[in-house]
């Protein structure tokens, strides 16, 4: 059983999507570690280390995602989980933007995948299964 850490980063309190992701991932047989809203990079990384997780799925809805996610990959590396799968989704930047651009920026920051606003989580589950060799 693969373990995924999920949570909402930064000063962000949008809880609805997080609860749905939790439910859907469990339905698909994942071991879900949900650290909830208002979580820091450290919270994500600590949870991942403690549970020996295979992936981290970061949600950011409120628009500060770009600032909150800086150096996330580097922190993972420092903590010895540099190879963990790192996904991000939600409304990750401020305003309505061409998503291709946004995706590029987040991939450059070391995220394996970045998802546009309103993504149905089922799509991401397929990617996850692929990336984890399921």
């Amino acid at each position: 059983m693969k373990t995924v850490v999920i949570g909402v980063i930064g000063a962000d309190v949008h809880a609805v999507g997080n609860k749905i992701i939790d439910y859907v991932l469990k339905e698909h047989g994942f071991n879900v570690v949900n650290i909830g809203v208002l979580s820091s990079q450290e919270d994500f990384i600590n949870a991942a280390i403690e549970t020996d997780a295979d992936a981290i799925m970061v949600s950011s809805l409120y628009g500060h995602g770009e600032m909150d996610c800086r150096y996330f990959r580097e922190k993972c590396e420092e903590s010895g989980i540099g190879n963990i799968k790192l996904y991000v989704g939600g409304n990750i930047v401020v305003g309505k933007h061409e998503f291709k651009e946004v995706e590029k920026r987040f991939k450059k920051m070391g995220f394996d995948r970045a998802y546009p606003p309103g993504t149905k989580i089922d799509a991401a589950v397929n990617d996850l299964k692929e990336d984890l060799g399921l």
Binding site: D12, A15, G63, P117
Partner: protein, 490 residues
């Protein structure tokens, strides 16, 4: 132990000193209370939120207000002027950024600096504390309509001080409504205290003859909140505010989706707020209602989003809300451009003007929904008073702890989070799982029957999947979620 009692002036002033010390802009001379009073007395009636609301209420019309706020002062002023001119907004906001909401003024300062450099807003709102009294007053001077801070700040004491001293005559929020949906581990004891302070500040100004409006945040998590639950929170916060001397209160409600239930909720809200205020001995409070356009996930297609905005405006008009908070076609993506924001306002205003002489007709269905909401609110209110042993503040803390009142999908650990709402076959929001909610068996039976009927009609089981489908429903163009796609009629 917190009690629902009016703060003594000396206690208030003592805390005030500390509050004003939490960030350097708190030391501004405009925050001297006498100076602030003199300034607030000088502002014209049409820029006073409380007075303009009274006027709207007398005319029986629905006024409109957007959400809007960007990091830098110049851009924020440009935005406000644009929304006044091109959107014909009757009231203007400043939506405050999320760092400020969590009192992380240094983060906000960094974001503000970077926004100034990059000439685009990296913050999701206006950092009013960082801009201080001078900045906020500049905003005030640059527009011709009343201003309000809209935020979601558990501890909004400093921001409230600054905006009122700058001439902003309304403040949104409350000890419950700006905690449970907006925080994770802040205690209700704390937020109730913080908001007693914010209300006491307004009470102080009222004592000096200055009218200031207060608005509990109605929609809470914005997601399938049963009307009786949000109405109860609004009423309780109105009572808490009145206790501190607030006189002009706007209670809010977020669109649920079914027209009749929404109008019923608005009608019950206004009636019961007035009722409970009188019951608790407050005779001279001026109550108005605000309707929030759909607060859940929005459709991505702009033509559809505009449809939803217009539909919400129709309901607000039929329900005769005095104010409506508008959305935009960018809602599902991110903070809107000023153009998109003004369009949302124009769409909204077109409807409220077109419909200003129409009301929802009296009907049996409407009567039943109003009565249902009223009964549920009464049960929740009684539970709160009971567990508080007569004290409302204690009642709230205990009621939440025991789950007697419970808000769906809330992030806060102070909230039990056991209830699950779902729609009945007409799209009215009912309750599937009650947790510890303080409802009588009769009321529970009512909900169960309604949902059983839907399950039967949709040939599906009552389950959490139904709830999830309902959460997605509106954004995908339905009201009642259906696992099996409705057979495509094409």
């Amino acid at each position: 132990m917190i009690k629902n009692e009016k703060m003594a002036l000396e206690d208030f002033l003592k805390i005030r000193k500390e509050v004003l010390n939490t960030w350097h802009t708190g030391k501004h001379a405009g925050l001297d209370l006498d100076t602030a009073v003199a300034f607030l007395k000088s502002i014209p009636d049409e820029k006073n939120f409380a007075k303009k609301l009274k006027k709207a209420k007398a005319l029986g019309i629905t006024m409109i207000q957007p959400r809007a706020g960007v990091a830098t002062l110049d851009q924020h002023i440009e935005l406000m002027q644009f929304l006044e001119k091109e959107g014909k907004a009757d009231f203007l906001p400043a939506t405050i950024d999320s760092y400020t909401r969590h009192n992380r003024y240094q983060n906000a300062e960094d974001g503000l600096k970077e926004s100034e450099q990059q000439k685009r807003s990296l913050l999701n709102g206006f950092p009013a504390v960082n801009h201080g009294v001078d900045g906020c007053r500049k905003v005030f001077d640059s527009v011709n309509v009343p201003l309000q801070a809209r935020h979601g700040t558990p501890d909004a004491r400093l921001i409230s001080e600054i905006i009122h001293a700058a001439g902003w005559t309304s403040n949104e929020g409350g000890g419950i409504s700006y905690n449970i949906p907006y925080a994770k581990s802040i205690s209700l004891e704390d937020t109730l205290k913080y908001w007693q302070y914010c209300d006491r500040l307004v009470g102080y100004y009222e004592e000096q003859g200055i009218e200031i409006n207060r608005e509990p945040f109605g929609p809470l998590t914005g997601t399938l909140v049963p009307p009786s639950i949000s109405n109860t929170v609004a009423i309780v916060e109105a009572l808490l505010a009145a206790t501190q001397g607030v006189k002009n209160i706007t209670v809010g409600y977020g669109q649920g989706g079914n027209m009749v239930q929404d109008v019923a909720a608005l009608r019950a809200l206004e009636k019961q707020t007035n009722h409970y205020l009188k019951l608790f001995g407050f005779e001279d409070i001026f109550v108005t209602t605000v309707f929030h356009q759909w607060m859940g996930g929005f459709p991505t297609d702009e033509a559809e989003a505009t449809a939803l905005i217009a539909y919400a405006s129709t309901v607000a008009s039929l329900g005769k809300a005095t104010k409506m908070i508008t959305k935009t076609t960018h809602e599902s993506f991110g903070i809107p451009t000023k153009e998109a924001n003004a369009e949302g306002l124009r769409t909204s205003k077109f409807i409220t003007k077109l419909m200003q002489d129409q009301v929802m007709t009296e009907s049996e269905e409407l009567r039943i929904e109003i009565a249902q909401i009223e009964e549920e609110v009464d049960e929740l209110m009684h539970a709160i008073v009971r567990v508080g042993k007569g004290d409302l503040a204690q009642g709230i803390i205990h009621a939440f702890k025991q789950g007697l009142i419970d808000i769906p999908f809330a992030p806060s650990e102070m909230n039990k989070g056991l209830i699950l709402p779902a729609r009945d076959i007409e799209g009215k929001i009912r309750i599937l799982e009650f947790g510890q909610l303080a409802f009588s068996d009769d009321v529970k039976m009512f909900h169960q029957e309604k949902l059983a009927l839907r399950a039967k009609k949709q040939h599906r089981e009552l389950s959490i999947q139904m709830v999830i489908d309902d959460i997605y429903a509106v954004s995908s163009g339905k009201l009642v979620g259906d696992k099996e796609e409705v057979p495509n009629e094409n």
